[in-house]
């Protein structure tokens, strides 16, 4: 029995007379590991903003049955901002503070617990600007996880992380998905990873082109969907790579 956790029906979004999204229909079940791919400017981040409730004025229906944790796309920050890693993670618990909006011992312990799992607890007092790319990525993930979400949405979380760090990060996603039963939605340009790790792939370019099991999707399908809407470079051997105009 698969239980639907997110359902989008005929979702569309237009701003300043430009069409950003059109005819988006999909269902995501509990414990799915969904990959979203598509060229730059395809509307991936916009779709996520709609799921987060950040955008008003879209058409269609979105139904979400669970708490969302979110890791933003290259969230450029001021490297000299005097805020510690722990303070950033606590931001994820702001909603759970009482009327006085104080963080209690319990909140701090929960934050440290998540940071420990992601191996950044020793950096709790470090200024965020002094963290490495991989540490910063795990910090963002800690903040997303600290409130115990049912759904984890990550928008191109690979920025500034080396290949080895990326691999570890994907394994972590996999673990959260399999062991904790968290539904993961991952926007990424790393297509080989998307194909090997996820159980559903969504190809987005203004509208949703496909939504199938990865096994049902082959390179020819992929080429057909994409070739007329972007310049695509497929290395016939390994690995599959998409290059959009902006790259």
């Amino acid at each position: 029995m698969t239980e639907t956790i997110i359902r989008a029906k005929n979702v569309g979004y237009e701003t300043e007379n430009t069409l950003i999204l059109k005819n988006i229909n999909f269902e995501i079940s509990k414990k799915d590991f969904v990959g979203i791919i598509g060229p730059n400017g395809a509307g991936k981040s916009t779709l996520i903003k709609i799921l987060l409730g950040e955008i008003e004025g879209y058409t269609g229906d979105v139904e979400i049955r669970g708490k969302i944790g979110y890791v933003p796309q290259h969230d450029f920050i001021d490297k000299t901002f005097p805020i510690s890693a722990l303070e950033v993670v606590l931001m994820g618990l702001y909603k759970e503070t009482g009327i006085l909006r104080r963080f209690k011992k319990e909140h701090i312990n929960r934050a440290l617990e998540v940071m420990k799992i992601l191996e950044i607890d020793k950096l709790k007092n470090r200024k965020v600007g002094k963290l490495s790319g991989g540490e910063y990525q795990r910090l963002m993930l800690s903040r997303a996880l600290v409130s115990g979400p049912d759904i984890l949405i990550l928008d191109e979380p690979e920025a500034g992380v080396d290949k080895k760090g990326q691999k570890l990060f994907y394994n972590l996603m996999k673990k959260l998905n399999e062991e904790q039963g968290i539904t993961v939605i991952l926007v990424s340009h790393d297509i080989s990873m998307i194909f090997s790790e996820t159980n559903k792939v969504m190809c987005l370019n203004r509208t949703l082109h496909c939504h199938k099991n990865t096994s049902e999707m082959n390179r020819d399908d992929f080429k057909k969907i994409y070739s007329d809407s972007l310049e695509m470079l497929v290395h016939i051997d390994e690995p599959l790579k998409v290059v959009s105009r902006n790259d």
């Binding site: 987060l52 950040e54 979110y70 933003p72 969230d75 920050i77 001021d78 000299t80 901002f81 005097p82 805020i83 510690s84 303070e87 950033v88 931001m91 994820g92 702001y94 909603k95 909006r101 963080f103 200024k127």
Partner: protein, 271 residues
């Protein structure tokens, strides 16, 4: 030194300079962190139009400047919320409009208007008991807000979008912040002047950011900088017979220079 404070006007001057200096210093942290450097200039110059109108019509200056400040804050808030026009663009437009109106109002007033100089560069001799009371209220409001809304202000300054997603009422914080800055600026013009108030709204925060590990440390460091430069600036003004507003600004710049040099030497040694 004791003789200095035997004059009523000096006691007023120092009290006013302290209240306005610390208020501006505390706000400067958020202005620097949020990179809203232009706001002080904008609010100050915009106040000029209101002040000139009040002088022309013979209205209550404090009231008119506070109203001007509120209008300024409201305009920035609502126009920039639409996201079609950048915040700094609106500030730039309002700033020059209000200055232009101010100059027109003054030209309409027959005869010489000596007070105007005082508002441009500050004239601490103009400070009245009422001014001190207003400054004290603004000062207390700022200190209480920074304590009560410490977290909200921190997350708002750090990342407004993510703060909003995590439930921080950023729209309210943003509006109240703009409002506070505008009111502080218009109530500080007698001490520091329209042209110079920007210095008070930037320098303490910039110095504090060089050294602080947390935002709260930054608030403390900037307040100390604000306190010491206000008092030293006024004492220097008295002894050298120079205008106090510019004297405070120059003192503050001195602290910035010292801090900058020490910081550079310190980082060189650490390497």
């Amino acid at each position: 030194m004791t003789e200095l404070f035997s004059y009523d006007f000096m006691v007023y001057a120092v009290t006013a300079a302290l209240l306005s200096g610390i208020s501006c210093s505390v706000l400067s942290n958020y202005i620097v962190l949020k990179k809203m450097e232009f706001i002080g200039d904008g609010a100050g110059h915009t106040a000029f139009g209101g002040i000139a109108l009040a002088i022309l019509m013979g209205w209550n200056l404090n009231l008119v400047s506070v109203i001007t400040g509120v209008i300024f804050a409201l305009s920035i808030y609502f126009v920039s919320k639409k996201q079609k026009v950048n915040e700094n663009s609106i500030i730039g437009i309002l700033l020059s409009l209000s200055m232009a109106l101010g100059v027109i109002f003054i030209s309409l007033k027959k005869g010489y208007t000596p007070e105007i100089d005082g508002y441009l560069f500050g004239d601490i001799l103009m400070v009245s008991e009422t001014d001190i009371k207003i400054l004290a209220v603004v000062f207390s409001a700022i200190i209480i807000s920074v304590i009560l809304f410490n977290k909200e202000l921190k997350y708002y300054a750090f990342n407004q979008r993510m703060a909003k997603i995590y439930g921080v009422p950023v729209n309210a914080v943003n509006f109240l912040f703009l409002l506070t800055v505008s009111v502080v600026v218009v109530t500080s013009v007698k001490i520091i002047g329209i042209i110079l108030v920007t210095a008070l709204l930037l320098t303490p925060g910039i110095i504090a950011k060089m050294w602080a590990g947390t935002l709260n440390h930054m608030i403390i460091i900037s307040s100390v900088v604000g306190t010491v430069s206000s008092v030293l600036g006024i004492i220097a003004a008295y002894y050298f017979n120079i205008p106090p507003g510019p004297s405070i600004v120059v003192t503050m710049f001195g602290f910035f220079l010292i801090s900058f040099l020490i910081k550079n030497i310190y980082t060189k040694i650490k390497k």
